[in-house]
Amino acid sequence: MTRDQGLDGPAPDERPTPAGRRNKQGIRIDPEVEARHEPRRTVISALVEHEPGVLAEVSGLFSRRQFNIESLTVGPTDEDGRARITLVVEEPDPGIDQIKKQLRKLLPAIAVRELEPDAMRRELALVKVNAERPDQVAAVADMYDAKTVDSSPQTATFEITGARQKIEAAIETFSQFGIREIARTGTTALARGTDDTAAPTPPESSASEANQQYTQPADDD
């Protein structure tokens, strides 16, 4: 059998080539300086209809689209039938934008926004440690404002609340006694002052957001 001869025309190496290039995120770049967006950690808060399947939709969305999620918390709000989902995500800026836009597309989503870096973020952890050195354990608990929830001759369990860094520091300090078990809630958060945590977004803002020039705000809490 004869092989297909294909089509006529100038071969690839005989064609002009453009000067420009895009990066992996589809943004045009100076070919000399390969710009990359570094992932950053941020909090996204979503006000949703409190109905069956919402959590599955949100978690399904994150796994399906390979968004990096650190924690997800959900709970009722002051309004009947509405829940707040707080997500801590770690993505480059274009990914964070995409997360917000995809979340807004979910039918039960009422409002979605990224919180400012100064937002109030809190997490609760239960830490169960060996109580062989009760005085020292108590001193560490005191240092982190931890409340004793339970104690037995062998164990002491503390409740610690605070920003993630504080919880992690406490856990690290407690680890000298031998940690038996830990349970953490993940971060929940509210915007400060009169700033609304999940003010409904006017539709145009999604466009403006898309056009924003990406900057790298310092982010830690």
Binding site: M1, A11, G20, R22, G53, R104, L107, S206, A207
Partner: protein, 603 residues
């Protein structure tokens, strides 16, 4: 029901009517037939409410397959004016509904029972989701008290279909079930279209209710921006005016938004060359001088040159699929992108939009047309585009002493049919030849499985398209042998419904596209792609009761096509094509569009 319930007023609350009993099935059919056309019979069951919702939405056709859990809905359909097309397989039902949606612009309806019925719909739903086609799926479900117990024919249908539907609902209230269907109908077509699904437990459809469904309406949390921000429009207009190498890239969204007309006017007034995506085929007449036809993996060389070298791209209703863009790094690398899309989540998802214009394509392109005052100075660029059209001509060799070239068959079919003929396809080489060698001039005449690439789409799509198309529009399915073999049981439907469709199977006894890739990338090792034998499709068609034809030589092509088209009913032409024929141009996966290969050794 022995007596009619009074019509329900629309002012009642939707959610908190506790009076309905869910246990009792309806006792008997209505004792009296409605004698006037003016007032429809009030609904008495959840199932009747489901069917009423479809009727209120103007549904004329539905495609489906019966089964245990959906029986109450089918029983209600028995009295309805809606024409139900009983399909041979649920996958066919979802593809038919999808094609119906593409051709008519109204949501296509498909029905299936629980479990296997619902899972068989999934391929068609995934296809509709990828291509943003309006489809409503209604699936039966086991009674609510059995849900979660792994009952007979139970599948978590809303769970299974969540990633492949725009929205889905498990309908748990008899008083709400009709409104759930209305809402699904509205959601399937408003904003960015897509498939929606309502899962209907048998006890809910069997239950008594006198609640008429609400009008099709999207929920309050669903907001769609129609007009783009005027500031962005002005900025984009300025960019267009100043461009030297502009291109319009029209995607499927142009057709869905009925924006073909405004896009044509805009391109022609400002003399901007037009490229389409695959779903965008038909948005711009391919016989127009400005048409560069389809870009992407198997797009024309000239379309890919235009895309690669433009300095401004007006992209409308496209999601920048990887089959279009090739490698992101080399996609339109010198171009500032004006991206018009109704879905904000598509803006800058794959390709950064320098000018994001969120809104309805028809509205936004009209806004842009109003804002652009001067045409770009692009005489040189247009001449360059014309030069590319001649440099990278799609002309192919067709020596008389070799087997028939598939391109010739596609051109002959195009020649023999009207401009408004609807073409459906399966997926593979034949689909690409159907893109490349048929000259499309009208929107909603190209019906294919673009994003999902579902082999087997062609025949059920032709069935759905036949019901949506006008009587004077021919419906031609250009299929491959592999694709046809996947869903040819649909011939039984086409014969039963006496559908005037013509299937041309471009038969090379290969999974041809895979064979082509194996030759190029796997040292010609034809693993599982070489059938070496195929049923005689013409004889098989006759067994179904359709008319069968066969073509082996060039001199049979025109007459046989004419005879098949003239046959008033389903006909199948088994065309034995050159099994070595390949699809070119070709951009390898993730490659540079500008470096498309014209022959295998350029890959």
């Amino acid at each position: 029901m022995s007596e009619r319930a009074p019509p329900v007023t629309a002012t009642e609350e939707q959610h908190d009517d506790q009076e309905t009993t869910r246990e009792e099935p309806p006792e008997s059919a209505a004792t009296e037939e409605s004698t006037t056309d003016a007032e429809p019979t009030p609904v008495t069951t959840g199932a009747e409410s489901v069917v009423r919702a479809l009727e209120n939405a103007g549904v004329e056709h539905a495609f489906g397959v019966q089964g245990g859990a959906i029986m109450p809905v089918y029983d209600a359909l028995y009295d309805s004016e809606i024409h139900h097309v009983t399909m041979a397989h649920e996958q066919g039902a979802s593809h038919a509904a999808d094609a119906y949606g593409i051709v008519s612009g109204e949501p296509g309806i498909c029905l299936a029972t629980s479990g296997p019925g619902a899972t068989n719909l999934v391929t068609g739903l995934a296809d509709a989701d990828m291509d943003s086609d309006p489809v409503v799926a209604l699936t039966g479900q086991v009674p609510t008290e059995f849900v979660g117990n792994d009952a007979f024919q139970e599948t978590d249908t809303t769970g299974v279909t969540m990633p492949v539907t725009k929205t889905n609902t498990f309908s748990s209230e008899p008083d709400r079930v009709g409104t759930d269907v209305s809402e699904a109908f509205a959601l399937a077509s408003e904003g960015r279209p897509g498939p929606t699904l309502v899962d209907l437990p048998k006890d809910v459809t069997n239950a008594e209710t006198d609640r008429e469904p609400d009008e099709p309406r999207t929920p309050d949390t669903y907001e769609v921006q129609q007009r783009a921000d005027p500031e962005f429009v002005d900025a984009a207009a300025e960019r267009v005016e100043g461009s030297q190498r502009p291109v319009m890239l029209l995607g499927g969204g142009v057709i869905k938004a009925e924006a073909s007309e405004v896009c044509r006017e805009f391109a022609i007034e400002h003399e901007i060359p037009v490229v389409t995506t695959m779903p965008g085929i038909g948005a711009f007449p391919e016989d127009h001088e400005l048409s560069m036809e389809m870009a992407g993996m198997h797009g024309t060389g000239y379309a890919n040159m235009a895309v690669t070298h433009c300095d401004t791209m007006i992209a409308v209703g496209t999601r920048f699929d990887d089959r279009l863009t090739g490698g992101i790094e080399t996609f339109a690398p010198d171009a500032e992108i004006i991206h018009v899309d109704i879905d904000p989540a598509e803006i800058s998802k794959n390709i950064h939009a320098d000018y994001p214009l969120v809104g309805d394509a028809d509205t936004v392109v009209s806004q842009l047309a109003e804002a652009v005052e001067e045409s770009p100075q692009a005489t040189k660029w247009r001449a360059q585009c014309q030069q590319w059209k001649s440099d990278y001509s799609m002309a192919y060799e067709a020596p008389e002493d070799e087997p028939i070239k598939p391109q010739f068959v596609v051109e002959a079919l195009d020649e023999a049919t009207s401009d408004r003929a609807v073409v459906t396809t399966g997926v593979g080489q034949h689909q690409m030849w159907a893109c490349q060698y048929w000259t499309y001039t009208e929107p909603r005449t190209w019906v294919s499985s673009h994003g999902l690439g579902a082999m087997g789409y062609g025949l059920p799509a032709a069935i759905g398209a036949r019901f949506a198309a006008d009587d004077d529009q021919e419906v031609v399915c250009i299929d491959g042998d592999g694709s046809f073999l996947m869903t040819l049981q649909g011939l039984s439907v086409a014969v039963r419904e006496n559908l005037d469709i013509t299937v041309a199977v471009l038969n090379n006894e290969y999974i041809g596209m895979v064979r082509q890739w194996q030759d190029a990338f796997f040292d010609g090792r034809h693993s599982a792609s070489d059938y070496g034998w195929m049923p005689e499709f013409d004889t098989l068609a006759e067994a179904f009761g359709a008319e069968g034809f066969r073509i082996d030589d060039y001199d049979e092509v025109a007459d046989t096509i004419d005879a098949a088209l003239a046959y008033d009913g389903p006909s199948v032409i088994d065309v034995h094509i050159d099994p070595q024929a390949n699809v070119y141009p070709m951009v390898p996966s993730g490659g540079d569009n500008g470096q498309f290969a014209l022959t295998e050794d350029q890959l």
